[in-house]
């Protein structure tokens, strides 16, 4: 009877207890790591720094530091997977090419992260030991009170006590053992996840990039993407110049010449003049076709006229398979963002029709929490590799200029889903309401 009434109550406790136990167990390798790797590495670090005076440290410091970083990285990973406290890696990137020992030494000791790692090595020893072991010890002691004490008290001879009751020598104190054990066990189970989290937060305090390191990294990323953008833009302008020069411009020169000739001939040979005028008209049409293609590549007119949602609809209409379009943008992004997203979607859609053998595709444009998300998916063969070809990396570069990202999931057999994301504000200009199948 009792077990049946208790059952649901105990069952509701089970996941809680399991979680406490798991966290307590995870504390054990943490503690072990703190007393083994950290003690050994702090000794080696101090030795290597001291021996710099006699030159040995020049070689030893980078080697020891590399080992320290491995341990610190392990700690970062554990904090992320066990306590859901992700810790980014703060180290400056390895430069390209070979370095001489002095350069390597200098780079190691001038990275502030090296010294923060050392501080962590030292403080982690007591912190890791205490936070890692205490929950397990509490649980074990609690179990002792719950299970062993009532059994053993009769067997064990001599003075004995438990927790606050010491010694246990009469019925009153004996009755207090069990509840105390339960309390301590519960405390241990409750403390374990907390200890794991506090430990991870402690690691983040010293092992995460400092504000200035994070900013330095960001500046470097931006510099890189800006350089790429500038390069790409310059190349684009050169292409446009060449296209105009060899195409429409040349044709218009020819048109002018032909009309001039016709002017000369109109009195003497009206028929020849008429033929020439016909030719001039032909040439001007061809120039217009070239200009139109060029303009489409620079800034598609439909984008200027209808904004992103209309332009994406127009794109969907132009591909030879049904495309479901869902646009949910409460306003319009800035023109450069619209353009980047448009071309990114166009490229992704072109890949769908070129490679995937898809039967249907879909486009989704949404904006939440200051991020514009564009998804292009298809039900084709899958197996698309974002690093191969020029299309997908091109999209990545285009979006990088706006601090955007692109991810591709394309398992063999499909579906392929290209997700493009960038942060941007929307202006209150209304876009055209649009959704439907094209």
């Amino acid at each position: 009877m009792v077990s049946q009434t208790l059952h649901p109550w105990i069952r509701s406790l089970r996941p809680w207890g399991r979680r406490g136990l798991l966290c307590a167990l995870r504390g054990l390798p943490d503690a072990a790591l703190a007393v083994t790797a950290n003690i050994a590495l702090i000794v080696l670090s101090v030795l290597s720094v001291l021996t710099t005076v006699v030159g040995v440290g020049l070689f030893a410091v980078p080697v020891v530091t590399a080992a320290v970083r491995r341990v610190a990285n392990l700690r970062r990973r554990l904090a992320g997977t066990w306590a859901q406290v992700p810790i980014p890696v703060p180290y400056r990137p390895e430069p390209d090419g070979r370095q001489n020992p002095w350069q390597r030494y200098r780079r190691t000791v001038t990275d502030p992260a090296t010294w923060r790692d050392l501080l962590w090595l030292l403080l982690e020893i007591p912190v890791g030991l205490v936070l890692g072991l205490v929950p397990t010890l509490l649980i074990l002691y609690g179990l002792l009170g719950v299970v062993l004490e009532p059994v053993l008290l009769g067997v064990v001879l001599g003075p004995f006590g438990y927790a606050a009751t010491w010694p246990v020598d009469d019925l009153a104190t004996r009755l207090l053992v069990f509840p105390q054990g339960v309390l301590i066990l519960a405390t241990g189970l409750a403390a374990a996840p907390l200890a794991l989290r506090v430990h991870a937060l402690f690691a983040r305090w010293l092992l995460a990039p400092t504000r200035s390191a994070a900013l330095t990294r960001r500046v470097r990323d931006l510099t890189e993407s800006r350089a790429e953008t500038v390069d790409a833009q310059a190349a684009e302008l050169r292409r446009i110049e060449r296209d105009l020069h060899d195409g429409a411009q040349a044709r218009m020169v020819a048109v002018g010449m032909t009309i001039g000739l016709a002017e000369e001939l109109v009195g003497r040979d009206p028929q020849a003049a008429q033929r020439l005028l016909g030719e001039a008209r032909e040439a001007s049409s061809r120039a217009l076709v070239e200009l139109r293609d060029l303009v489409r590549g620079i800034h598609p007119p439909v984008l200027a006229e209808r904004g992103l949602s209309g332009a994406v609809q127009a794109l969907a209409l132009a591909v030879p398979l049904p495309v479901r379009v869902r646009v949910d943008l409460p306003g319009r992004p800035a023109a450069p963002v619209e353009s980047a997203v448009y071309f990114a979607v166009a490229e992704a859609l072109a890949n769908v029709t070129k490679h995937s053998r898809a039967r249907t595709a879909w486009i989704e444009l949404t904006h939440t929490d200051g991020r514009l998300v564009a998804v292009v998916g298809d039900d084709g063969d899958g197996g698309a590799d974002p690093d191969r070809g020029t299309g997908l990396p091109g999209i990545g570069r285009r979006l990088a200029a706006f601090d955007g990202t692109m991810t591709v999931t394309s398992p063999p057999g499909g579906p392929t889903v290209v997700t493009m994301e960038l942060s941007c504000e929307l202006s209150s200009r209304k876009t055209w309401p649009s959704s439907g199948t094209a």
Partner: protein, 214 residues
């Protein structure tokens, strides 16, 4: 025939006016911006309007919007829309009221004066004239929609030429067949698309619309 022209570039506006006047049209108004277009269309109620998609002040698609708005106030008001580029999206929007009297051409086509004037007349008489570029885009697509899947290749060709606003005689000339053969094809298209016998012009519009919607 009375015409309203909307075009912001003076050079082209004057050119169009001169061209249409030379072919016997009477240009009753030539406006150069979007806001002036709608009142011009609804007060003059021309036999046909020739409208540029992109007009000041926003240089987006104000001409198109004004044309569509005018057609909701004056159903069937014939409008020929000109643009530097053609989009199926716009073609659909223009045709969506299903009343015909709609043209949609690249500006380039103006240079072929004879054909352009023909197109204006076709639109004025309630026909539908789509730019060959729009039709080419449609032909490039796989057949994927049920209503069109049943058409033979030749019937699709005929339907494409119908969309360009060509008469039966012109279609026959283009495909090197007799006019009788063409009208047989057209009847077969109508029945396959489920268009009941009615006023022939309207059926042509509906067939073209089905074509664009595919």
């Amino acid at each position: 025939m009375r015409v309203v022209i909307a075009e912001d570039l003076a050079l082209l506006r004057d050119g169009l006016t001169r061209l249409l006047t030379a072919f016997g049209f009477e240009v009753v108004a030539a406006v150069d911006n979007g806001p002036a277009l709608l009142p011009a269309l609804t007060t003059h109620r021309p036999d046909v309007a020739v409208v540029d998609v992109r007009l000041p002040p926003t240089f987006t698609d104000e001409g198109l919007q004004a044309a569509i708005a005018a057609r909701t106030q004056v159903p069937g008001l014939p409008v020929l829309v000109l643009s530097q580029h053609v989009e199926q999206l716009y073609a659909r929007e223009l045709l969506s009221d299903r009343s015909g009297g709609v043209g949609y051409l690249l500006k380039d086509r103006v240079s072929d004066v004879g054909q352009f004037v023909d197109a204006v007349r076709q639109v004025a008489s309630g026909g539908t004239v789509m730019d060959p570029e729009v039709v080419a885009q449609l032909l490039a697509r796989r057949t994927r929609d049920e209503p069109l899947a049943g058409l033979t290749a030749r019937e699709r060709e005929v339907l494409g030429l119908m969309a360009e606003g060509r008469s039966n005689a012109a279609v026959a000339g283009r495909l090197f067949v007799t006019e009788k053969a063409v009208s047989k094809h057209i009847n077969s298209i109508f029945s396959k698309l489920g268009l009941p016998p009615s006023d022939d012009d309207n059926r042509r519009v509906l067939a073209v619309l089905t074509y664009l919607d595919a």
